[in-house]
């Protein structure tokens, strides 16, 4: 991937698109220059008529040409806006995607998916709005203000200066109000976020709310948020309610000046009726850009804030130390003095153990013991704060990430389904052979299920996998991990949602179909792991004991406690085996 440094700010960003942006600027200026000409033509026609040398054909030709040119250039300007802004948006999105795809999992966790999603959507939209609206609006506003002021001065400098004296008042009034409004806008966004949060929670927690009959407290929460939103928007309204009439009033005062002073000049004979008309029309054109610039300052501020957030993503350092080692794993795994801290919280404390190739290891322990984190470490999804993870005696960081991932299969605790076909969901890596796919499906006891589907493996798994039961989803997750024909398989509480008979069948299949596999399994059930080569007992981040079932029964009171808590169940399942 080609590395290019991202633009420092939104204005520098524009230079990346110098071609289309300069086209936009040129077209915008032409369109506005043409628009200024119109009042001139009208005033010329009136004056010519007064002088008696008015030719209607000339007027029609001139005016029509100008009108058509205005049409063409305004449209061109709009098209250039669309092209420029969409291209900028597309490129930024691609840049963000490219950046994120080289980041480790811990980055996404830290940045949180919700915020990254915002980067992709509303932040990019803000920059897009800046390119599409602010650029041409500001160019045209400045051009109009300068151009019209010049024209007014040329037409009648005395009247022009009097009229222009009023303009700064409008600008100042606008500036102050907008400054206040901007703060309120931020507050109002916060209120909306709050509102949305209450709505989201009331939908996600619908069942709970009904079970506790807590609809009324929820409604009160909502009213609070809604009242706050209303209060802020009424404040904003109050500001605009005074601003808009005031601006109109000042504009009208300028008209009044034109009538009185212009009338005076006309009566004196120092000004023509045509110029008088032109003054009135120009005034109408002049006010608009001032208001536009005010609004655009908001757009620019927003775009700058958004682009700042995007930059944070684009400039985030890639801390990945990917080694180049692409060896075929035997399956020896070693965890050496590993500690993991999340801020002040310690998730794992000085954990060490080793796993021989082809052996079976179970990790057992209470809730929040750090079991899942341990598995994340073994896939490189999480980096240890201190200590080492070794595969076949070599540090995990020496390995090429891809090579490692294609040999270590991971069945996550939560079911993750993609809106793809079943085949794509299972043969998830690019290199899955058909025979491996089939063996994986068979092992996960999915064959009957797949065969019963009308479109077999090509069935699209619907969004969020709602058409599948919890057990089916977990089996698909297992098949996905097995399909890469892994040397090491990591199971995270795989049996929690699969019933006992299916579970024992699947575990039997794994032993039969993948005899050389190194298995590391997080579980709650002792009965299914008693015969494992090694059992590791974790509690609150510490490794309390390791050894075979028999050894732990002798040495670890905590293990015996867990065992006792499950004993009655074991009886029944032993009966079943007998």
């Amino acid at each position: 991937m080609k590395e290019k440094t991202p633009a420092k700010n939104i204005f520098v960003l524009l230079f990346r698109y110098a071609g289309i942006i300069s086209l936009l600027v040129i077209v915008t200026i032409i369109a506005n220059a043409l628009a200024i000409v119109v009042p001139k033509i009208i005033s010329g026609a009136i004056d010519n008529y007064a002088k008696g040398n008015f030719i209607i054909a000339n007027l029609i030709i001139e005016f029509s040409i100008i009108a058509v040119l205005i049409f063409v250039f305004t449209y061109l300007q709009n098209i250039a806006q669309v092209y420029a802004s969409e291209r900028v948006a597309r490129d930024i999105r691609n840049d963000i995607a490219a950046k994120i795809s080289v980041q480790p999992y811990s980055y996404i966790e830290k940045a949180t998916p919700a915020i990254i999603l915002t980067n992709f959507t509303s932040d990019v939209d803000a920059v897009k709005t800046f390119v599409s609206m602010a650029v041409s609006a500001i160019i045209s506003s400045i051009f109009l203000i300068v151009g019209i002021s010049a024209l007014l001065i040329i037409t009648d400098w005395k009247l022009a200066l009097t009229v222009l004296a009023i303009v700064p008042f409008i600008g100042i009034a606008f500036f102050f109000v907008l400054k206040k409004v901007r703060k309120l806008f931020i507050k109002s966004q916060e209120a909306i976020d709050w509102l949305n949060k209450v709505i989201s929670e009331s939908i996600l927690g619908a069942a709970l709310i009904r079970l506790l009959n807590s609809q009324n407290p929820e409604y009160e929460k909502f009213i609070d948020a809604n009242t706050e939103a209303k209060k802020i928007s009424l404040k904003i309204l109050g500001l605009f309610a005074s601003l808009i009439p005031v601006i109109t009033f000042f504009t009208n005062l300028a008209t009044l000046v034109i009538v009185v002073l212009g009338g005076h000049f006309i009566i004196q004979g120092t000004m023509s009726l045509g110029s008088f008309t032109a003054f009135n029309s120009y005034l109408a054109i002049l006010i608009f850009p001032i208001i536009i610039i005010g609004f655009m300052s908001n757009v620019i501020a927003q775009a700058q804030a958004s682009y700042g957030r995007i930059l944070k993503v684009l400039n985030s350092p890639v801390e990945e130390k990917t080694g180049g080692l692409r060896a075929v794993l035997k399956g020896n795994v070693e965890v050496k003095n590993v500690t993991v801290n999340f801020g002040e919280k310690t998730a794992l404390k000085d954990v060490s153990f080793s796993v021989k190739a082809g052996s079976k290891t179970a990790i057992i322990g209470p809730t929040a013991a750090g079991k899942t984190q341990l598995l994340y470490l073994l896939t490189g999804l999480l980096a240890p704060t201190s200590g080492e993870i070794l595969f076949d005696g070599k540090d995990i960081n020496e390995y090429d990430k891809e090579s490692l991932h294609s040999q270590v299969g991971f069945v996550f605790q939560d079911s993750v389904m993609f809106n793809l076909s079943l085949r794509e969901n299972i043969a998830f890596s690019n290199t899955v052979k058909d025979e491996n796919l089939e063996r994986a499906i068979e092992t996960a006891e999915l064959k009957d299920y797949v065969d019963a589907l009308p479109q077999k493996l090509d069935t699209i798994v619907s969004e969020r996998g709602t058409s599948l039961s919890g057990g089916q989803k977990q089996r698909i997750m297992l098949a996905r991990a097995l399909a890469i024909n892994p040397k090491v398989l990591l199971l995270d509480d795989f049996t929690a949602r699969v019933d006992a008979s299916t579970e024992s069948k699947i575990l039997g299949n794994i032993t039969k179909n993948y005899p050389e596999l190194t298995l590391i399994s997080v579980t709650q059930k002792i009965s299914s792991i008693e015969h494992y080569d090694q059992i590791i007992l974790l509690m609150e981040g510490e490794l309390l004991a390791k050894g075979t079932h028999e050894e732990l029964m002798q040495t670890s009171p905590e293990y015996v406690q867990i065992f006792d808590s499950q004993r009655s169940t074991n009886q029944y399942e032993l009966n079943e085996e007998a």
Binding site: R90, N213, Y219, T227, V246, N252, I267, G471, A500, T502
Partner: protein, 591 residues
């Protein structure tokens, strides 16, 4: 009742009568605001008139006093102008203030109504519609209404009045010239009508590509760990790139199509000025018109075409708001089918000893297939019951009927001898505690979550609450959280494990000390030692508490007094634990 909302909401757009549907939808909302509406309308009309009389006054000044070189007259009428401008200032202020206030109050009420409706609807509604879709739908639609009510509505109304006013003035001053000046407007409206289908088509396509692109982002970001662990980053980046490119081309064509209107309106406005100018000068030369009137006329042409252009630009937001309102009305139209039956019809009591009884209960979800078939059983006070059976067999459905999350399609559920449908929700909820399979947490602290919906302890100090928890034997469980009661939790984050979430749900239910406590696989992800602790807590619940336990793991149910085997919509009594195990292991499975 079928609660599923129409899915193809972007697709469904009515062509016909935007204005009339707008009136139909908006007018009822304003029913309570008659006074404000009247004031606003008066203010709008006054402010429109003040804007519209200005050109005619100027025309008069030009024609009469400029020509006769009477500066006194100019000053006199300028004074009149000043009065008109001041009136405009006042009416303008009132207009913005009342219309804006009205819009915001409408929005406030509408939002409350929506939320209230959401609270009324039963669980079935939330199960039939995907939570994510529902959230984005409600949030987006209210947001669109927000934009409309706080910004577009005012522009919309005042522009319409300005257009009408300017049109009237044009025709009244000189009907021939007036009508000719309006011709370009008519042409533009026709062109708009002709172009509309095309513009709509391309913008729809752009909306759809945008949707699939954000879907792509969401899917990959939320499941990043799987993508990393399976080396699929490149695949997803390419898929995203494709979606992004597709969105780009669709957006560009949508932009090109959507932007056609503005230049056309500008063109129309220029043409109207040209016509007025050429024809006006001709009329002046024939003595039928004056220069002052011509200047005034040109101003009216502007005050007609500028609002028209603005109207065209706010039109899409009106359509969006109406579409949003439509979709929200769809939710309004839904009625909860979980109704409380009136007291006077209260049926006779059934066998008094049973705390909960199912009598000939049949149940099916909307799709039709029977989930429960003629279920009959009775639960007695203080006993522990276990529901076992394969996935999809109907365990959760049975439990949901006990808590009246659903009503039976046929038959009835009796709570303490009375049909459960006669209970007021507050009373029913006091009696039944249900720990859901998927625990839900509110963003906040553990304390807030375990006291959620529990009025009794809300105001307790930390010390008092600690006593309550100690008495309920729940203190040990709280040590599983690093900061105890003050530990921050949130529903979405991975920082708190599934097991911990289930613990919170358990504490929440246990604290309420219900008569019947239902645990729906509520401990699936809790380790066995903590689970034993839970068992001890359950054992220490008051003797009269009836417990219903649904579980995969058999040790959780070994203390049950009675075991029900639930499969294929039937509930049968399993004589013993061993019997249940045999059925579970050898019975046919549904999933």
């Amino acid at each position: 009742m079928n609660y599923s909302l129409t899915k193809t909401d972007i697709e469904k757009e009515e062509q016909k009568g935007v204005l009339s549907t707008a009136l139909k939808r908006l007018v009822p909302l304003m029913a309570e605001e008659k006074r404000t509406v009247t004031i606003a309308v008066v203010a709008i009309i006054v402010s429109a008139i003040t804007a519209l009389v200005v050109p005619i006054i100027i025309a008069h000044i030009v024609d009469v006093y400029f020509i006769s070189k009477n500066f006194q007259g100019v000053l006199l009428f300028s004074g009149l102008l000043l009065i008109v401008f001041s009136a405009g200032l006042a009416s303008n202020y009132i207009q913005v203030k009342t219309m804006g206030g009205l819009g915001r109050r409408l929005l406030f009420n509408l939002r409350n109504k929506i939320f209230n409706k959401l609270q009324e609807l039963p669980v079935a509604f939330f199960n039939q519609n995907k939570a994510g879709d529902l959230i984005s739908r409600i949030n987006n639609d209210t947001d669109k209404l927000n934009q409309f009510f706080s910004q577009a509505l005012m522009q919309f109304v005042s522009n319409i009045i300005l257009i009408l006013g300017a049109g009237v003035f044009l025709v009244v001053i000189n009907w021939k010239l007036g009508l000719i000046a309006l011709i370009p407007a008519v042409v533009v409206l026709i062109i708009t009508q002709l172009l509309n289908p095309w513009v709509k088509r391309v913008s729809l396509r752009s909306l759809r590509t945008l949707g699939s692109m954000s879907g792509e982002i969401q899917e990959s970001i939320n499941n990043f760990k799987v993508i990393v662990a399976f080396n699929r980053l490149d695949y997803f980046r390419n898929k995203f790139k494709e979606a992004n490119q597709e969105n780009y081309s669709a957006s560009v064509s949508a932009g090109i199509a959507g932007n056609i209107f503005n230049p056309i309106y500008v063109l129309a406005s220029s043409l109207a000025q040209l016509i007025v100018l050429a024809f006006g000068i001709y009329l002046i030369s024939t003595g039928n018109f004056t220069v002052g009137l011509l200047i005034g006329f040109l101003l009216y042409v502007n005050s007609f075409y500028n609002p028209l252009r603005q109207l065209a630009s706010v039109w899409p937001s009106l359509q969006l708001a109406l579409a949003g309102l439509d979709r929200i009305s769809e939710v309004f139209a839904l009625e909860s089918d979980i109704k409380i039956m009136p007291k006077e019809k209260e049926a006779a009591l059934s066998s008094l000893s049973a705390v909960l009884e199912f009598k000939n209960v049949f149940f099916h979800y909307v799709e039709g297939k029977l989930v429960l078939r003629n279920i009959n059983f009775a639960l007695e006070k203080g006993k522990t019951y276990a529901l076992v059976g394969p996935t999809g067999g109907g365990k959760t459905t049975t439990a949901s009927l006990m808590a009246r999350l659903y009503d039976p399609s046929k038959g009835a559920v009796y709570l303490e001898g009375k049909d459960i449908r006669f209970y007021e929700p507050a009373e029913r909820v006091k009696k039944i505690g249900f720990i859901l399979q998927e625990p839900f947490l509110f963003n906040g602290t553990v304390r807030e979550n375990i006291l959620y919906g529990n009025e009794d302890y809300q105001k307790h100090s930390a010390g008092e609450l600690a006593q309550v928890l100690e008495k309920a034997h729940l203190t040990k469980l709280l040590s599983r959280f690093p900061d105890g009661l003050n530990t921050k939790v949130s529903s979405g984050s991975d920082a708190i494990s599934l097991g911990q979430k289930q613990l919170i749900a358990f504490i929440r239910a246990a604290l309420r000390s219900p008569d019947i406590l239902i645990l729906d696989e509520a401990t699936a992800n809790i380790d066995t030692i903590t689970e034993q602790l839970l068992q001890e807590i359950i054992d220490q619940l008051p003797k009269e508490t009836t417990k219903v336990i649904i579980a995969h793991r058999l040790n959780t149910i070994e203390n049950a007094d009675e075991i029900f085997f639930v499969n294929a919509g039937e509930v049968s009594q399993a004589g013993s634990m061993q019997h249940a195990v045999d059925m579970l292991l050898h019975g046919k499975r549904e999933s």
